[in-house]
Symmetry: C2
Subunit: 329 residues, 2 copies
């Protein structure tokens, strides 16, 4: 009765980071069937890493009593910039051995499955758009606040890729011309103020410059200050932590105002480790947004936090694979 066997339509989402690679297997209703995280081991080189990725997919399938024939597509997210149209990682800051790697084709040939290749912030954005904080809107802007700041833009239900596939690099919007030198070479990028690591760095700088703060003790003991420290000391009433948080919120509110005047999203969604700070951060962003925004019309853009957490990347990558599968059948 082979003809009557119902094929299980499943989609894999892969989120490649410098440290870990996350895998998620989803059914066609975007229910998560299983997930796994493995070390990237980027120093093994591209071929070995891609082989390990395929092995992990096969392992997860067998653990779920599924096989490759049940997989309709794979979505793959990596940090940018890359040549997403061509499917190639040109070079990668966190994975120096990945030079001119046609990763989409290599993985696709190894698995015998179509692979969708996308910027990792875009996959997380798509995840929140399809099944997270943006699932009921058509126009959304998305920020990940981590070591850097990544971004994604949805316009009228479609992802903005840009002419070369490197649009929505929202961390590199210049908000303070001539300001801090960003890792990208520009001055005054929002990333150089409001990412988790730069928020922490600004706090450490201020302490080193003599600011009074309970964070001084942290710096003395640990040799560094983390973003988490800043928010913990903020909650305990530290004045410097409040100032640092305000500056982060100001920077993020500025890009919210600018994005409103550019793609006019219905919702702006923040994600990444830093949103653990909670309402104290979100409310400051909203306050500054209300302060900075024009008075010509009342704006109804909502600013909120992401809801999928760490799974946004794998969910979005799998949802993209599903999206392209449905367009192709």
């Amino acid at each position: 009765m082979k003809g009557f066997e119902k094929m299980k339509e499943t989609f894999f989402g892969i989120d490649v980071g410098g440290t870990n690679i996350k895998f998620g297997c989803f059914d066609s209703d975007m229910e998560l069937l299983c997930k796994r995280s493995i070390p990237t081991d980027a120093e093994m080189g591209a071929e070995a890493v891609i082989e390990k990725m395929a092995d992990t997919i096969e392992l997860l399938l067998s653990e779920s009593e599924l096989s490759l024939k049940d997989v309709c597509g794979v979505g793959l997210g990596t940090p940018g910039p890359a040549d997403y149209k061509a499917g190639t990682i040109i070079h990668s800051t966190n994975m120096p051995k990945f030079k001119n790697v046609p990763i989409r084709q290599m993985l696709s040939e190894r698995l015998g499955k179509p692979v969708v290749f996308e910027n990792d912030a875009n996959t997380a954005c798509w995840g929140e758009f399809v099944c997270g904080a943006g699932k009921d809107v058509n126009d959304m802007v998305f920020f990940t606040l981590g070591t850097g700041i990544g971004g994604g833009i949805i316009v009228d239900g479609k992802m903005v890729h840009g002419c070369d596939g490197n649009g929505a690099e929202l961390g590199h919007i210049i908000i303070y011309p001539g300001g801090r030198l960003c890792n990208c070479g520009q001055r005054g990028c929002v990333e150089a103020y409001a990412s988790a690591s730069w928020t922490a760095k600004r706090a450490a700088e201020a302490v080193e410059e003599g600011a009074e703060s309970s964070l001084r003790e942290v710096l003395k003991i640990k040799g560094e200050i983390s973003c988490k420290d800043v928010y913990e000391h903020l909650e305990a009433g530290d004045v410097l932590a409040k100032k640092i948080t305000d500056e982060t919120a100001q920077a993020l509110a500025l890009v919210c105002v600018n994005m409103l005047h550019i793609t006019e999203p219905k919702r702006i969604v923040f994600s990444g480790g830093m949103i653990a700070a909670g309402d104290v951060l979100l409310n400051r962003i909203k306050d500054y947004f209300d302060e900075y925004i024009w008075k010509l019309k009342e704006e109804r853009t909502e600013i909120c936090f992401a809801t999928l957490g760490e799974d946004a990347g794998i969910a979005g990558a799998a949802a993209l694979a599903k999206h392209f599968h449905q367009k192709s059948v």
Copy 2:
């Protein structure tokens, strides 16, 4: 032999400004058949103005030996913000009697034709995209440099409207937080530095503050300095005119960098009276863009001037009417 008469498919584009209303009648190849400009006379009130618009269309048709039955659609551009989805001008700075005017419906009912209603910068953008400086690209950003700065964005061949129809208000991107107070109520908008009128105003301010410049004589004689004066004195070697032009170019380069990281256009097109300044302005914008842009990848975004001049608005409005006509048949 009535059944064999070929219908002439024509489209009207209307560009409503505070001072004049421009009309253009185009055939289905977007060839301009005739055009006209009439005073807006906004103080007559909305009904009278709309009646006059319909009369002008009928007059132009009869002069071209055409009639309303040859018209497939009308495109209408007005300054924003407005409720473009609903087809209503809520209020207008330049036309104070236009309050809550359902202009799309009123004109459509008067003519018995479908009317497309759009922001005037968007119509001009669409004109340049369809038959001007952007006709060979899919991703474009457009700026009009006039009294204010308007904008339009094309992503993958489609216009960005935003959730409320007021996206692409690119003049109100904040480039210098806490900077000059813009007419919109925000501080530091690019419009408050780089529009034609603010460029002129900065020159006058500098002279009043004692800057040495051949523009001092202009201010003494005329009581004001125009943007045209700035560029004429720039050509004659005036140092202040060069400084003012540089600041305009810096502001515009900053929004180019930011738009590159947002929608990553293949081409950025500047239009409006100020582009009469020519290469001296364009080259400075390009220089600052190259100076400000990140070093992570080589960018191939082209920065250029518009090619349709004053006709971009009527051409774009008519092309939008054609676009929607083709989608509906």
